[in-house]
């Protein structure tokens, strides 16, 4: 079997049909990961021997995955791309990786990321920036940039990233892969090094929508180790709902179609045309201007960051607080400020109130539409170094992703074509609370109807 560019689903099938061995699959991806590490720097740690666990079923038997380096992996160095944790080996496994290992998957490497997930370009990593496989002078986006670059360059058939606001969808858009952010509470955060605890959300990064559904099947569900995890009912198999022939009512929030790079916007509008031709109904809707989500998100996230990073006080982990790089220090200071006496009401408390408004706004609009569609990002991939020019680069790059993160609703980014520079364009599909099924359904219908998703394959071809 030709593994290059094969979907996760097809490799699972080939392994189950014994057309290929698990060792060969591992070897294939390990070689590629090592080979392109110099060019892309997609990993912090590559594992010659697969990280495996106790297996309970064979759904992903023999599948090597790449995982963002903020997922605790028992006995395997986990740094969150910060030198502060350079030598830290967790004594326990995160719930997400545990479930993947129980399904028979292995982990072949831990992906580079923005240090502590603070960023949207993977340039704040203490281990150097990851490069975009489409153009190595460009950033892959972030903070899950190492994971999206790995999947884009086919160093692994799929990966697991995490979002606080846009950290899966934005780099997925820039790297031309599928990135799903599930509902907050749908997937356990246990063992994921916390960034903004009330937003953090693990999710799959894949080359097809079906692969995303397959991984979601394994990682979604209640977890007794995470009090914020939900026992809200989930489908046994997301792929069944995903494959239904449904006619959808699609909302396009006009506030999300502004300030978009023209050639990017054009590709997204072409995608809308595809949906229209398929008979789906479009509705223009209005949402709270996403710029407010930026303010709310920034205040709440910085507050949580300053709290979550307090544990790295120099007593343990072998490094003191000086090992924090500039971005973390900035966030700690801003967060400590907004939580201080006398400022709490003006910032944190007020942001919480607007968060409630954003939730109500989305609930209102989902009474009328099944999904919301928009560009996933305002632009395609930036050149490395650009982010330094903007103090809130990440927040601005993630502007279209933040409302779903603030509210906790699910959303996906899928590639819908290339812009005039030949860079991938991502489209975002947002859904209602716990309705990943409809989000996947909308994305899958597009995938089946078009060959736009072939952008992923084109990218892979650069890395033969």
């Amino acid at each position: 079997m030709d593994l290059l560019g094969a979907s996760l689903t097809s490799i699972v099938q080939a392994l189950s049909d014994k057309k290929i061995s698990a060792a060969d699959v591992y070897d294939f991806f390990l070689k590629r990961s090592k080979h392109y590490q110099n060019d892309l720097n997609a990993y912090v740690t590559i594992l010659d021997k697969p990280h495996a666990g106790k297996v309970k079923n064979n759904i992903l038997h023999g599948i090597p995955l790449c995982v963002k380096d903020n997922f605790s992996t028992r006995g395997v160095r986990t740094t969150a791309s910060s030198k502060l944790l350079d030598k830290y080996e967790p004594p326990y496994e995160s719930t997400v990786t545990k479930r993947l290992l129980e399904a028979g998957a292995t982990i072949l490497g831990k992906n580079n990321m923005d240090a502590w997930a603070h960023g949207s370009s993977t340039e704040t990593s203490d281990y150097g920036p990851t490069r975009n496989p489409w153009d190595t002078q460009r950033a892959p986006g972030g903070s899950s940039g190492g994971t999206t670059a790995s999947v884009s360059a086919y160093l692994a058939p799929a990966g697991i990233g995490s979002e606080t606001a846009g950290s899966i969808r934005q780099p997925a858009s820039w790297c031309g892969v599928v990135g799903l952010k599930p509902t907050y509470g749908r997937v356990s955060r246990y063992g994921v090094i916390a960034m903004g605890s009330s937003f953090d959300c693990p999710g799959p990064v894949t080359t097809t929508v079906e692969d995303a559904a397959l991984l979601l099947n394994i990682i979604a569900g209640n977890d007794l180790f995470d009090a914020t995890c939900s026992d809200y009912k989930r489908p046994d198999d997301y792929r069944i709902g995903m494959k239904k022939k449904r006619k959808l009512t699609i909302g396009v929030p006009k506030e999300y179609m502004q300030n978009i790079e023209p050639s990017m916007l054009k590709k997204v509008e072409e995608a809308f045309e595809v949906y229209k031709k398929m008979g789906h109904i479009f509705k223009s809707v209005s949402l709270i201007d996403p710029k407010y989500a930026i303010s709310v998100y920034t205040i709440l996230q910085r507050a949580e960051v300053s709290s979550n990073l307090a544990r790295y006080d120099g007593v343990r982990y072998g490094k003191n607080r000086r090992a924090f790089a500039k971005e973390a220090k900035k966030r700690i200071m801003l967060g400590a400020f907004t939580l201080s006496q006398g400022f709490y009401d003006a910032y944190y408390e007020k942001a919480q109130k607007i968060k409630t408004l954003i939730i109500e706004d989305l609930r209102r609009v989902f009474k009328d539409v099944d999904v919301l569609m928009s560009p996933a990002t305002p632009t395609t991939a930036f050149k490395l170094g650009e982010f330094e020019k903007y103090p809130f680069f990440g927040e601005v790059m993630d502007v279209l992703n933040e409302s779903a993160s603030v509210a906790g609703t699910p959303a996906i980014s899928i590639p819908v074509g290339l812009d005039t520079k030949g860079l991938p364009v991502g489209m975002q599909i947002m859904g209602n609370f716990f309705d990943e099924e409809t989000v996947l359904n909308a994305a899958y219908q597009f995938e089946q109807e078009t060959n736009f998703m072939d952008v992923i394959k084109k990218g892979i071809n650069n890395y033969v």
Partner: protein
């Protein structure tokens, strides 16, 4: 000297004896364990670990709140309280700020009659401001230039009880703390072992010239683990602050420690270094919503509390105030008393109650006996003894011969030694004599000699 009135409030921390810790599955019983053996990613605060609240600890806090007559809140949440200290693994403690489990309440403390100073028993009410739940920290130990941290205690459920500034003396504080201790033991929610630090108190003390007028300073004394030390620390503070005020100065607003060996308090932290804990709701723990019905169900089965039982003992059995007070200090004693009473014939109970109380309090009869055996023994001791006069006379002769010193003391006028001699004779007779008879015979033999 000016007469100052102390204003004292208390913060009390009680460790719960739940099976597991507050936010993880480690054992809440950490005593005598190898350092850092009773830990997991959660109570070590490792990256990515998350707290999952212990439901039993929440329910027990509600019970404490009920016992302290508190308003039980249907909506409450947990907050993060930030400060850096090596025994605090996350850099914040999970506690409760603005929405605690229990709101305002009060405790009534019974002060039994004492001889001349307080001839009447009285009850005084002290307000409770709040009762909330939080997690304990690890423990530091310092040897030479090395500091060690043991996280075995990290995450043990800790209930914080805050009183109103209602105490005017160290004695009132001590009586309140003893009452609180008794209530906690009645509820059976804590080992309440003072030596092991499962109950710690922090009094805040200031002095005023006029009741209801609060001075503009407050001195807090941290981490005291005995009622006596609390009493001594307060007495010391009252003296110290009085001396400062007498000089026309105002004591500094500060936090002080207590040195047990020297019996003094010492400055630890002043107001200028006061901390901003940067509280905010813990995003890892969703807020709680209970219905009134659920809370009623949880708190319905708390036992009859010490004051209620004490009052009942006085009204139903006619016990003396101080005896009823003593009997109700532990659940076991109070229950034992009533079991013994139930062994007695109904119509004789009222008459026997006081005698049973005395026998228990003065340890005249062992409470290790079954209530039935206790009752029998008591009744037996109350039946007048037939005394073998010949044997008694022989015995008295022997006792007097053996205790020449006591005899000569008696003759010199120290007549109180006679009780000692009665005791000696009773022992020789193996209790088969009536004590008053023995006394009469003894006095006779002194006269004859």
């Amino acid at each position: 000297m000016t007469q100052y009135i102390p204003i004292i409030g208390l913060e009390i921390h009680v460790e719960l004896k739940t099976k597991s810790k507050m936010f993880c599955q480690c054992s809440a019983d950490y005593f005598h364990m190898k350092p850092n053996s009773n830990t997991c990613p959660v109570c070590l605060g490792l990256p990515g670990a998350l707290p999952v609240p212990n439901k039993t600890a929440i329910e027990w806090t509600m019970k404490i709140g009920k016992a302290l007559n508190c308003k039980l809140n249907t909506h409450f949440k947990f907050d993060r309280k930030h400060y850096f200290y090596p025994d605090l693994p996350k850099g914040y403690q999970i506690s409760q700020l603005d929405k605690p489990i229990c709101g305002e309440g009060h405790v009534e403390v019974f002060f039994p009659a004492k001889n001349k100073e307080a001839p009447q028993s009285h009850v005084k009410k002290f307000r409770i401001e709040r009762v909330h739940l939080e997690e304990d920290t690890g423990k530091l130990s310092h040897k030479n230039s090395t500091s060690l941290i043991d996280f075995n205690r990290s995450g043990v459920p800790l209930v914080e009880i805050v009183t109103g500034p209602d105490f005017e003396s160290a004695e009132e504080v001590k009586a309140f703390l003893e009452e609180l201790y008794t209530i906690i033991t009645y509820l059976d929610v804590s080992d309440a072992n003072l030596d092991e630090g499962s109950m710690r108190m922090e009094p805040n003390i200031s002095l005023t010239l006029k009741r209801g007028v609060f001075p503009d300073y407050k001195v807090e004394v941290k981490n005291i683990n005995s009622f006596n030390f609390a009493k001594k620390a307060i007495e010391f503070e009252i003296r110290r602050q009085t001396a400062i005020l007498e000089k026309g100065k105002t004591p500094k607003q500060e936090t002080r420690g207590y040195n047990e060996d020297k019996g003094i308090t010492f400055a630890q932290r002043s107001k200028e270094e006061a901390k901003d804990y940067r509280y905010f709701s813990d995003p890892d723990i969703p807020p709680f919503v209970y219905t009134k019905g659920q809370i009623d169900k949880i708190t319905r089965d708390i036992p009859e509390l010490p004051l209620a039982r004490l009052t009942r003992f006085i009204s139903s059995y006619g016990l003396r105030d101080s005896d009823a007070f003593q009997l109700t200090r532990t659940v076991n004693t109070a229950e034992y008393f009533e079991s013994v009473l139930n062994e007695c014939a109904k119509e004789k109970r009222k008459e026997l109650a006081q005698k049973i109380a005395h026998a228990i309090i003065n340890k005249r009869i062992s409470t290790k006996l079954s209530p039935k055996e206790f009752a029998e023994k008591l009744l037996e001791s109350l039946t007048p003894k037939e005394t073998d006069i010949t044997l008694l006379k022989d015995t008295i002769d022997r006792v007097l011969a053996r205790n020449a010193k006591a005899v000569s003391d008696y003759k010199k006028g120290k007549t109180s030694v006679i009780m000692f001699l009665v005791g000696q004779a009773m022992r020789e007779m193996k209790g088969k004599a009536d004590a008053s008879m023995v006394r009469i015979e003894l006095e006779k033999s002194f006269k004859n000699n």
